[in-house]
């Protein structure tokens, strides 16, 4: 039925901590055990979460978590003790494009840690706390109404559960229905599925889709949270569909300042790349975005990020896609790209910046930038597809040499990239 987690040995992890407020923590310093046996009320590692979805970091070590079941964005202000620097970790051999596995069998290990079987583990997102390079995962144990959320961090290859009930927290509710002026006291069956959250200049930008109306909505929320929230609907020209679309959801977005002006760049299913000036995203408005690239039909984007290339020091946009190679586009082109003409005939693309996109060999379920030279990804190696691994991949080519069967990898083969001169040059930067 299910693939069981597998093990041949033991481990002693620094994961089971005495909570300061736990009965043990209280009983031990006094040297007297609690005779009543009354346990503390709750273990609370999930804290206020009802589900664990999209993750993103903001300034001051704040970790934002999208909670679809709770229809809430949570902000956890991580304390110094919640973060452990990982900058001493070796990411691989950068010159030779040889990454390293941080965790082999990530899903197997999460199942063991959460006391379950591998089929019950769902990894919803991956985020990196840039100053410490610590990796955070949003995980759920279970796939139904009994699913238990957890935020898990990686500490030198070991998995540790964040005890969320002890971390300073604030939250804001997301209306599940943008026009909820008319609601009876019935069970609101409508769910607003949060597809992405990004933090920019003291504000969160939250995109999503509802299960009933299929309407594309963008919320703009100041942080620290107050009652303020601006909600707008967005519209794009979609050349593959030859139509203005108001309903297709933004699946991923990033915010970048270009020429002193902040923009939100969004990707949709099937796969338009759209530019919105932030100044246009005001409460109650309906905004038409500029379609600047059509990345190709029949695909769904998985992740969207920007990185600085260690090769030419230029910034690039990266979009990973479920059915084919990832797309790379120069950030400098994002501002200058002309909006594609609207109202024309059907164009299956690629179009606009899609014509000059570079295909990158990334097959990842989740990807994030770890540090200036390395990305971190959750993926399945073709030879070990029964498990997920957490591995590094060298920027800017996202190429893993040790998986290659090319002639230059043979001992006596040609060596045009001087791999042999750089053997064993392991480093993290």
């Amino acid at each position: 039925m299910s693939e069981k987690p597998i093990s041949s040995g033991h481990s002693r992890r620094d994961i089971l901590r005495f909570a300061a407020a736990s009965a043990v923590g209280l009983a031990l310093p006094g040297g007297i055990s609690a005779a009543s046996g009354a346990p503390v009320a709750h273990d609370g590692v999930s804290g206020p979460l009802r589900s664990a979805g999209v993750l993103t970091f903001g300034p001051n070590n704040v970790l934002f978590v999208g909670d679809i079941t709770g229809a809430t964005i949570h902000a956890f202000a991580l304390r110094d003790k919640d973060l452990t620097s990982q900058t001493d970790l070796i990411s691989g051999n950068f010159h030779n494009f040889e990454g390293r596995d941080h965790i082999v069998g990530l899903d197997q290990k999460l199942a063991a840690l959460l006391g379950t079987t591998i089929d019950k583990i769902v990894i919803n997102d991956l985020a990196v706390h840039q100053p410490t390079e610590q990796i955070f995962l949003s995980v759920e144990r279970g796939r139904g109404t009994d699913a238990i959320p957890a935020i898990v961090k990686v500490n030198h290859g070991q998995l540790e559960i964040l005890e969320l009930d002890k971390i300073p927290h604030s939250h804001i509710s997301i209306p599940s229905e943008p026009d909820s002026t008319a609601m009876l006291e019935f069970d609101p069956q409508q769910v607003y599925a949060i597809t992405d959250i990004k933090c920019y200049n003291g504000e969160l930008f939250v995109t999503g889709i509802t299960n009933q109306r299929f309407a594309s909505t963008l919320h703009r929320i100041p942080y620290p949270f107050n009652s303020g929230m601006a909600t707008c609907t967005v519209e794009i020209w979609h050349p593959v569909h030859g139509e203005f679309e108001t309903r297709a959801p933004i699946i991923r977005h990033v915010i970048r300042e270009l020429n002193g002006e902040p923009y939100l760049f969004a990707v949709y299913g099937c796969t338009p790349l759209v530019r919105f000036p932030l100044s246009a995203l005001k409460d109650g408005t309906h905004v038409r975005g500029d379609l600047i690239g059509e990345l190709g039909y029949g695909a769904n984007p998985l992740d969207m990020l920007t990185f600085t290339s260690p090769a030419d020091s230029k910034d690039y946009l990266l979009v990973t896609i479920d059915t084919r190679s990832a797309s790379q586009i120069a950030v400098s082109d994002l501002a200058s790209a002309p909006a594609q003409p609207t109202g024309g005939g059907i164009d299956f693309g690629p179009g606009g910046l899609g014509r000059t996109q570079r295909a990158l060999p990334i097959k990842a379920e989740h990807i994030a930038i770890l540090n200036p030279k390395w990305a971190i990804l959750i993926w399945r190696h073709p030879r070990t597809t029964y498990r997920l691994d957490l591995s590094t991949l060298a920027l800017p080519y996202f190429f893993e040499r040790k998986d290659g069967m090319s002639e230059m990898n043979w001992p006596n083969g040609p060596d045009p990239f001087h791999y042999r001169e750089h053997r064993n040059e392991l480093g993290n930067q």
Partner: protein, 387 residues
């Protein structure tokens, strides 16, 4: 944090335990009515061991190597170590208790190991081992089946936007893409007809799943529509098949697959005309239902929440909604009797028919020209008067 309602059960699945007297240390799985459910304990610990542990500066570091709980499993082909189950320890009078951070799952086999040897002489004793599991609830609900698929009508418009699939028990995510398909009259899957959303679209109870037809094929003159045609063809017979591969909350497949058979009729490309609804008013002073009859079927889920009734003094009144007659009838039974005066029937802007047409405009409509993008989707209202 959600906790499972675990049964009050003391595991008797003792596979290997040292034959010790009742006053010797032993591993015991205890049912516990506290929110965190069952735990596993080393009982009958000697007072000097308890005293030693309480005097330790960092007992946690010690305990996690002495008293370990793991998921019992076959060895890894990688020879790689798996973490122990995450949890915390409670030190009681003569007992050391392990409480998992996530409640023990039913039917998962765990191994508890207590090995006091790292504590050193004179506390050395043989290690204790025990495998245990919490069995499934005795009374598992009946096998899960599909109870309804909406729209319930057997004649559906060519530009149908969505189905709602209703299950008799809560379900698990992750199977819809594989298990749900649209079949043609020969029983063959229709390619690219259903939309692949970024997340499966379940309601909170996880009993209702939204399945969308590809909007790109529904809109005329849109690329996929021109290239592939609409997902449904007028006059043809189809079936939406829900395969047994859908998994319920208890990890079980459906009792049987389910097919909703339907025939495709003409498309509906006009707004929902609220002004053409038929109102059957209730009797004054009664708690009879107010009934609205629609010209064509409206969206089953949106009907539950987008229509409200305001009393003569302007307050939204409480009551029960029933939708039936193939989503062409909406009945509202108030909790308090109707009084004389003018009632407002408020129709929220979210209301749509089965094709996604709303009260302001059709889903599939001509392009809007010019810079003014705002087509405000307004709500509407009707009135009725009771005398």
């Amino acid at each position: 944090m959600k906790s499972l309602a675990l049964p009050t059960f003391i595991s008797q699945q003792l596979i290997r335990e040292e034959k010790l007297g009742v006053c010797q240390p032993r591993l015991q799985v205890s049912s516990d009515r506290s929110p965190h459910g069952p735990s596993v304990s080393v009982c009958f610990l000697a007072p000097d061991l308890i005293a030693f542990l309480t005097s330790c500066a960092r007992p946690n570091e010690l305990l996690k190597s002495v008293f370990r709980v793991t998921v019992a499993q076959v060895p890894s082909p990688e020879g790689d170590r798996l973490p122990d189950v995450s949890g915390r320890y409670l030190l009681l009078e003569d007992e050391l208790r392990f409480i998992p951070h996530f409640p023990f799952e039913r039917d998962v086999k765990y191994r508890a190991t207590f090995d006091p040897r790292p504590l050193g002489a004179p506390l050395t004793a043989e290690s204790l081992n025990r495998e245990f599991f919490i069995p499934s609830e005795q009374e598992a609900p009946a096998l899960t089946e599909v109870t309804h698929i909406f729209p319930s009508c057997a004649l559906l418009p060519e530009n149908l936007l969505r189905f709602y699939v209703c299950f008799s028990n809560p379900m698990q995510r992750g199977q819809a893409l594989k298990a749900i398909s649209l079949l043609d009259s020969d029983g063959q899957p229709v390619a690219d007809a259903l939309y692949r959303p970024p997340v499966e679209l379940w309601d909170r109870s996880m009993r209702h799943l939204t399945v969308l037809l590809d909007p790109g094929r529904l809109k005329r003159w849109v690329g996929p529509n021109v290239e592939l045609g609409p997902p449904l063809e007028v006059g043809e017979k189809y079936a939406l098949e829900i395969g047994v591969g859908m998994t319920d909350l208890y990890g079980r497949p459906l009792s049987e697959s389910f097919r909703k058979h339907f025939v495709v009729g003409d498309p509906v490309r006009e707004r929902v005309s609220v002004e053409h609804w038929k109102i059957l008013p209730p009797g004054t002073g009664s708690r009879q239902a107010l009934v609205l009859i629609f010209a064509s079927p409206l969206d089953w889920a949106l009907l539950q929440q987008t229509i409200t009734i305001e009393s003569p003094d302007g307050l939204v009144i409480d009551g029960q909604v029933v939708v039936d007659q193939h989503e062409r009838r909406w009945s509202f039974t108030p909790t308090s009797p109707w009084v004389t005066g003018v009632y407002q029937i408020r129709v929220g802007p979210g209301l749509e028919d089965v094709c996604g047409n709303n009260t302001t405009e059709a889903f599939d409509r001509p392009l809007r020209k010019g810079p003014n993008l705002v087509t405000r989707i307004n709500g509407s209202s009707l009135i009725f008067q009771l005398i």
